[in-house]
Structure formats: structure tokens, C-alpha cells
Symmetry: C2
Subunit: 431 residues, 2 copies
């Protein structure tokens, strides 16, 4: 029997308990032994739960789980950084196998925890941390063992994707779309971590750690939220053949162990025939570019308790098989994280979508194109929507050829200071 200590029993933890029960006979055949939830750490033992638990297995004392020598695997689904980090470090030190779905913890301390697990010879699995039920961690870890990843791009925050999808397809404002997401349970009461890009940045760090073998604990990801995207941006994007998506992008700039890594989260124009353009609603997707493999896309329900529970149980089965076979630690043994510089945003090269609110005065377009041209930013398309006047501004939208981020930022700063624009320029990178 494989004995499990479950830290936390909210909706994901409850889903884990349910799945283990529903698939008990299949899992027992696969593992070669039953999996038993021996201890459950909760804050309030009297709370009603999705999955019924034996009262004598429930405890509010972490030491009763972590200090129990009969526990083989600790599954952490409590969330938050502390005390989750402390508990996992203690479990690893005690030689227990560990499964977690905690993206924030891994973004801040994943390298440290992996290193501890490797040295102690135990497994540390975390499929549930990114992309809900999408098996992207597994793919990065195992399947691409024989390949080098050049880049990955993902839609990895379901809330942001839902909001952008409803703005585009339903014509809602940002505020109305967020409100709708909250009503449907897709957004928190305070949606900042989701729509501000912070959650996606955490997940990007976890993915990049594996994809590029890089120690990235607490890495500062350049992050922009979707709150500045307006309905008119969706309309212009469509006119140019694009869709606005919130993307998380990681890219190796060059080859070899000293090549810097670009990490960024921001709204982007995605070509409408790119598979990422059609990942709608709360769906998530990760596109991986392997040197030998070429492009590979994985998509599915990124959030939600059951998809995450599916991933946690899959990890638990893996870890239990290894434990049963006496080969724990293989999962972490090959993961050696090296240091990588992060490339500054100024070095990004992309095409840019720029929307200006311009007073329609003589010579204004010449000034705009001049400001861009001076910095070697050349224009692919320029659209003026209707006619303004010298006092009523009109939207001018520009799609540039590939340019340096530093150049476009310089040009927008100059344009933003001029007297012919009504407000700060809006820029969205083209994917």
C-alpha cells in the first residue's frame, strides 16, 4: 500500500480524493498496490467537504502528517507560499515523495525545491501547477528529453482569455467582461493576479525552468495586464487579420548555455490562422518549438478543480509506481538547473501594433512617420479611422515591420509628448 498525506482539502484536494476512489481498481493495477489517503491536513476539521473523509484521518497538525514515518507521498494542494514551502521542504528532508499543484510556490522556490529533492533522491512532481489538465509539464520533462526547446508561447491564464474572448466575440467592455467572468466563477473577487498577468508570469517561470533547464526562482518576468485593451483594439486587430490574446512567451536568444532568456507576459496580436488564435474562453494552450520536433501545441481546460485534480492524480500514480519499484528520485535526477541571464525587454524584436489618438491637423501624419522613421521603425500599414478635426481626435492605427523594442518605445515616448496626440499611445506586440 502507498500511503499519502494530503495537505489541504479544498476543491482540488476533494477532487483528488474522488478520483482516487472512482479509479481505485485501475490505479491499483497500474501501481501494483492500492493508494491510501492516510492523513489529511486541514484548517477546519468541521467544514463540509466535497469528498467525505474519515474523521480520524483528518488533522490540523502538520507534524502529524510530515512526521508520520508510514506516509510515502505528500500531496500539497493547500496553495500559498508559506507554510506550503516549509511543509514540502520538511517532507523532502524526511525522504517522502512530493506532489504539488502550487504555481506561486514553484515560481518563487521551484529551483530550490527541485535541488533539495534531487539531493535527497526523492521525486517532486507538479503537473497540476500549470495548465490544469494539459500534460505540458510531463511533455517538457519526459517526451522532449531528446530535444532542445527554442521557445514556448502560451495562453496560460483562463480568466484573461475568457475576458478577451468575450470582449471580441460579445462586444463587451473590459469591465463588463470581468464582471461576467466573476459571475461565472472564472474570476476572483479581486481579479488583479489574473488580468494583471502575475498568475501567467508564475506559470511561465515554472514552464521555463523545465523547458530551458534554468534556475529562475523569483525571476522578474516583464508583465503587462490586459486592462488597457479596448474593444476598438479587437476591431482593428480583426481588420489586420489578427486576434488579441494575452500571451506568455519564453524564448532563447541564441544557442548554448550562455544564451539569454526572454520572459514576457503581455497582450499580443496573434494571426487568425495561428492555432493559438482559436483557443477561446477559459481554454489554455502552450505552443512549444523544439529544435528537432518543430512546433507542438497542447491545449485544454487550463483552470478548474477537476482538470487540476486529474493532473495531481496522474503525478501521484507516477510517483507511487516509482516508490513501489524502489526507483524514486529518477524524475528529479536528470533535472540540473543552470543559471541564465534574462534578456532585457529593450532587446525584444517584434512587429508592433500602435494606436494613436490624434488631432487631425496638417502635417501630423508626417510627424508620426518621421518619429518612427528616425528610429528605423518602418510602417507596414497605416489606417486612419474616419476624419477628426483640429480639436476632436481620431484613431490612427499603425502596424510596423519588425523593429527593436527600444526603438518603438523611444518613438512612442516622443509621439506621446507631442501636442497632436490626445492621450498616451497604445502599443500591442505582434506575435
Amino acid at each position: 500500500m502507498i500511503k499519502v498525506g494530503l495537505l489541504g482539502c479544498g476543491t482540488v484536494g476533494g477532487g483528488v480524493v474522488q478520483l482516487l476512489r472512482a479509479n481505485a481498481s485501475y490505479i491499483e493495477a497500474r501501481v501494483g498496490a492500492p493508494i491510501d489517503i492516510a492523513r489529511v491536513l486541514v484548517r477546519d476539521p468541521n467544514k463540509e467537504r466535497v469528498a467525505e473523509l474519515d474523521r480520524d484521518r483528518v488533522t490540523t497538525d502538520a507534524a502529524a502528517v510530515l512526521g508520520d514515518p508510514s506516509i510515502d507521498v505528500v500531496v500539497e494542494v493547500m496553495g500559498g507560499v508559506e507554510p506550503a514551502r516549509e511543509h514540502l521542504a520538511a517532507a523532502i528532508a524526511a525522504g517522502k515523495q512530493v506532489v504539488t499543484a502550487n504555481k506561486m510556490l514553484l515560481a518563487l522556490h521551484g529551483g530550490e525545491l527541485l535541488e533539495r529533492a534531487r539531493k535527497r533522491g526523492v521525486d517532486l512532481a507538479f503537473e497540476g501547477a500549470v495548465g490544469g489538465g494539459i500534460p505540458v509539464i510531463r511533455v517538457l520533462r519526459d517526451s522532449l528529453a531528446s530535444d532542445t526547446i527554442a521557445s514556448l508561447s502560451g495562453i496560460i491564464n483562463g480568466t484573461s482569455n475568457y475576458v478577451l474572448t468575450r470582449m471580441r466575440q460579445g462586444g463587451l467592455s473590459f469591465e463588463a467582461a470581468v464582471k461576467e467572468a466573476q459571475e461565472k466563477g472564472y474570476a476572483e473577487a479581486d481579479p488583479t493576479l489574473d488580468v494583471g498577468g502575475g498568475d501567467a508570469a508564475h506559470k511561465l517561470v515554472v514552464l521555463s525552468m523545465l523547458a530551458f533547464g534554468a534556475r529562475l526562482d523569483g525571476a522578474r518576468v516583464s508583465t503587462e495586464g490586459i486592462d488597457a485593451v479596448e474593444p476598438v483594439d479587437h476591431a482593428f486587430a480583426e481588420r489586420f487579420g489578427f486576434v488579441v490574446k494575452q500571451l506568455a512567451v519564453a524564448k532563447l536568444k541564441g544557442e548554448g548555455p550562455s544564451a539569454p532568456l526572454e520572459l514576457r507576459v503581455h497582450p499580443a496580436l496573434v494571426a487568425e490562422d495561428d492555432p493559438l488564435a482559436n483557443i477561446n474562453g477559459v481554454l489554455n494552450a502552450v505552443a512549444i518549438e523544439g529544435r528537432a520536433l518543430g512546433p507542438c501545441l497542447l491545449s485544454g481546460r487550463g483552470a478548474g478543480d477537476m482538470p487540476t485534480a486529474v493532473s495531481v492524480v496522474a503525478d501521484l500514480v507516477d510517483v507511487a509506481i516509482a516508490k513501489k519499484s524502489g526507483v524514486s528520485g529518477n524524475m528529479t535526477r536528470a533535472i540540473r538547473l543552470g543559471d541564465r541571464h534574462l534578456a532585457p525587454m529593450a532587446d525584444v524584436e517584434a512587429r508592433y501594433y500602435v494606436r494613436l489618438s490624434v488631432f487631425d491637423r496638417p502635417g501630423v501624419l508626417a510627424k508620426i512617420t518621421g518619429s518612427l522613421g528616425e528610429r528605423a521603425v518602418s510602417i507596414e500599414q497605416l489606417v486612419q479611422q474616419g476624419r477628426g478635426t483640429a480639436d476632436v481626435p481620431v484613431d490612427v492605427v499603425i502596424l510596423t515591420h519588425e523593429a527593436k523594442e527600444a526603438a518603438i518605445q523611444g518613438a512612442l515616448e516622443a509621439i506621446g509628448k507631442s501636442d497632436y496626440v490626445a492621450r498616451a499611445p497604445r502599443m500591442i506586440r505582434v506575435h
Copy 2:
């Protein structure tokens, strides 16, 4: 050291040799031992190869590989059914671990080989058999261990997808698109197995065996090729908001071990906002619907030597880790295949696209709608393209509501026999 016997050294085999060399240090860290290609079975030892091989390791004698007790793993990339089946059966009987990328062999004898491997306690891995570098076999086998699959739908023949993409985007005829695919190396001189649907049917059997735990050796998949799809079908599909794709579909009709399985390969109208609609060119994709997981899509380069080699090496690494740890056989131990009835095509329920070539005579539309209505097939949309005459036919295209396959087939048979149509009706199922 893990010693490998390689059966076949064409382009995939050469890719495997190259990847093992290029990633040797990473693979050694992961496995805990180097992987050595100790023997290579070829037909012609004097042929020039992508990867240089030690002459004294190359042999034309299968027994020199299969009978060598120092060989731990046999990797079969020779293709064809015999003698590949015989070689793999011999390798399993000798207690060797087995990796293969041979979809035709697995479609005909996969259940038999898995059963042999399970009884002998050895691993049998075959990620390379379906979807090139897309890790779909791994996902079905491992990650979804804790879920039940309700259905899967895939674009799993790159040649067909390339041809349909070029017809739609480039306005080519079927014949011109096939010729272009041949020139680019995406289609064989005889493209029948690809465009006729046979290759996709093989892959569908392999996927379904794992997804549904079903013994399907030699299963008769209802198969239609793409050769009857005409440019005008792409145009009408677009008008209705669809894209024509060659799909392979497997679906459980109901729940429990006695629920029949629907297996079919045919052109289908896919809604343009379905992620499968944007899988273009030689890309492949498999969409899986898990009961707990919900929808999950994997896509990537489905064909090609390097993506397939990446998958073969990933399998080899997995199998080598298990061998090194003394836990071979875990991969096959949990796979128990049961019998499943195949549902007859007559039981399929779908919406249908029907294109008729009709002489424009009074009362004809009433006769058509009557033939459909008699069989409870109701019409969602009907379009007549231009005006014909009593002697010059015109296209009439109908999109039905959901109907039984038996009903639509009956109606089309009746309509096809009538004197007001110029040729047999064309039907494409809506996905």
C-alpha cells in the same frame, strides 16, 4: 550501459542515431547509464546513410541482433508487417524491451504484441507510431490514467491535411494538390494509403486501443478518402462557417465495458472556430475528450523523420530508465485490453452537408425536401448556387440538422436514383 539493437536504419533510424549522439550526456544523466547502439540490422550494408555507423556493428542477419543476449532493447524502425512482427515477437520472447514506430504492424497486431509483452514482463513503447513528435501515446497511457476517455478526433494524416489545405487556401484541384505534395516530399509516388484514409485508420486503431482499453487488432474502420472532395465543397463549407478536414474519429457510444465503439475516417466539415480547423499543412492534431479532464488538444508535426525519431528516442529513454532500475514491464502491466463491439456506421448521428447537382425543373426542391423529410431528416440551410435550366444542372447544397446516418443514406439513395439529379449526391459529415 544499455545496449540497443536497431532494426532498420533508414531516415528514422538515422535520426535516432543522430539524436542519441547529440544528446548523449543529457540522456546518460537521465538514464544513469550511456545508451549504446550495439547492433544495426540493415538490408544493404553498403548503402550510404545519414548517420555513419561502425561497420562491425552492422549486420544483415536478424538472429545476430535478436539472439544476442547482451542486447537490452530492440528498436524497430524498419516498417512493414512481416518480418517486423516476427522480430518483435522474438525480441519479447527473449525478454528484451521493445520500441517501435510501426503503425501498420500495431494496427494489425498491437493487441497481440502488448499481451505478449505484458505476460513476459517487458516494456513495449510506440510513441513514434502515431502523430510523429506529438506525445499523444504518452498522454493517453500515463497522464489520463486517472480519467476515462469519451472520444477522440484527430487530423492524423499529414498528406491529406496538406492536400485539403492547399485546395482551400491555394484554390488547387485535388490532383494538382497531390502533385504538389509529391514534389515537396509530403506524398508517396502512390498516395493511396494516405489520401484514401488507410494510414489514418491504422493510427486510429492504435490510439483507440490505448484510449478505450480495447483489443482492436485488424479492426475494420469505416474509411473514406478525400479524393471526392472538390474545390466547390471548400467554398460552400466556408460560406457555412466550416473548413473541410480529413478526420479520424473514435467515440464510445454510452458508458461501461459493453458500450460499442464508433471508429471512422472521413472528410468532415469542422467549424472554423474549432481548434482542429486551424491545423493546416502537414501538421497533425488529436483532440481528446476526457470525462474529468474535458477537452484536450495536442498538435504538431505529424510526419517527418526527425519528429518521429524524437518520439522513438523519448521511448528508448523511458524504457532504458526502467531497465536500469530493474522495473521493466510496468509500462505494459496496467494495459489490459477488453473486447469492444464496433458500432455500425448506420448508427452514427451527425449533421450532414449534402451537395446535389440538380436540373432546375419545377417541383424539384419539393421532391428533395420530401425525400429527406420522409426519413425525418430536417434541413437547417439550403443554398442554390445560381440558376440552372431543365438541362444544365446547378448545385444545391443542404446542411441538415442532426440525423441518423441510416436515414441520410436512405434519402441520398432515393435522390440519387431520381431523374432530376445529374450525378450521385455528395455527402460530408459535420463534425
